[in-house]
């Protein structure tokens, strides 16, 4: 597997969440397409924010890609 593919699997575009019929639908980034209960979505959101904050401390320049 080439470096290009390895880098390509780390996503720098955010996913998009929508509420529908009492559940949360998460689309993207890329191949992600899942449905969560509000509880699962909230907890996943918290976990993502905590992990993102730690990940930012693990790299130097740039802190993260907003592109």
């Amino acid at each position: 597997m080439t470096q290009r593919y390895a880098l390509g699997s780390t996503h720098n575009q955010p996913g998009k969440a929508n509420a529908e019929a009492g559940v949360v639908l998460l689309d993207g980034p890329h191949g992600i397409a899942i449905t969560m209960t509000p509880y699962a979505a909230l907890e996943t959101g918290k976990s993502l924010m905590e992990a993102a904050a730690i990940a930012q401390t693990q790299i130097s320049e740039p802190p993260y890609d907003r592109a």
Binding site: N18, E20, A21, V23, L25, D27, G28, H30, G31, I32, A33, I34, T35
Partner: protein
């Protein structure tokens, strides 16, 4: 003729009159089956293979909670379980999605073809390789595409497969599956599928209603699903508009 849809409009291969006659003679029985009937279970020894004549079938795998993932959909003209001829047992279940008519070919008959008709054997092999190509496309679909892309890719694929056997007029086809089946094909929930179908309709790409599919924009739907038809080995007629739109 029961085998007239088999390998129809596939590039690089078509059956001669003699080969078709041999395949017809290999059929031991034609059966009709109700919708939602499991015809082969994983691990069960099999001595026949099944050619789908009418209706839709699927291969599926259940997870430990009993939730089903469809891993293939078979349309008329497909050999549903030709793999069972060399494998003798399958690693997945096979079921009908709609009421179907199938032709049964005993493995003994396939043995005879295998030992006497190498070119027909190669064409049967081609059809299983076509299944393998579709499996690769399905892996790509689930691994790389978002929910809208997955549904768009599946409907683009099905549009071409059905058109090859004259079951789509190029813009509309009957797809005897439910929204729930579509969810199990695309690995998403029913709520998600419902939203995706609404989005595809609002974007003017396609309408899926009561198991009837209207493709409003063939090129746009294919683009949304990153659908490249090469893996279907379709032989497009020179005047087929999809030749320009999709190739």
């Amino acid at each position: 003729m029961f085998t007239d849809k088999f390998l129809r409009q596939r590039s690089g291969t078509s059956l001669t009159r003699e080969e078709r006659a041999v395949l017809e003679n290999a059929i031991s029985e034609v059966r009709t089956l109700d919708a939602r009937t499991t015809i082969a279970r994983a691990g069960e020894p099999l001595s026949n293979s099944t050619l789908l004549l009418e209706g839709f079938m699927c291969r599926y795998v259940d997870d430990r909670q009993g939730l089903r993932q469809l891993v293939a959909v078979q349309v008329p003209g497909d050999f549903v379980d030709l793999h069972a001829y060399p494998l003798k047992v399958l690693d997945h279940d096979v079921a009908t999605l709609t009421a179907v008519t199938v032709a049964i070919l005993p493995h003994d008959s396939l043995n005879h073809i295998n030992s006497t008709m190498p070119e027909l054997t190669r064409k049967l092999w081609f059809s299983t390789l076509l299944d393998a190509a579709m499996h690769r496309a399905w892996v790509f679909r689930l691994g790389r595409l978002d929910a809208v892309g997955r549904v768009a890719h599946f409907l683009s694929e099905t549009h071409l497969r059905l058109k090859a056997v004259d079951l789509s007029d190029g813009a509309r086809f009957a797809l005897g599956i439910t929204q729930s089946d579509l969810s199990e094909i695309c690995g998403i929930t029913n709520v998600h599928t419902n939203r995706v179908l609404r989005q595809l309709r609002e974007e003017g790409l396609c309408v899926f209603r009561s198991s009837l599919v209207d493709i409003l924009n063939v090129e746009g739907l294919a683009r949304r699903g990153q659908f490249d038809p090469d893996y279907l080995y379709i032989r497009f007629d020179s005047d087929d508009p999809d030749r320009e739109r999709l190739m």
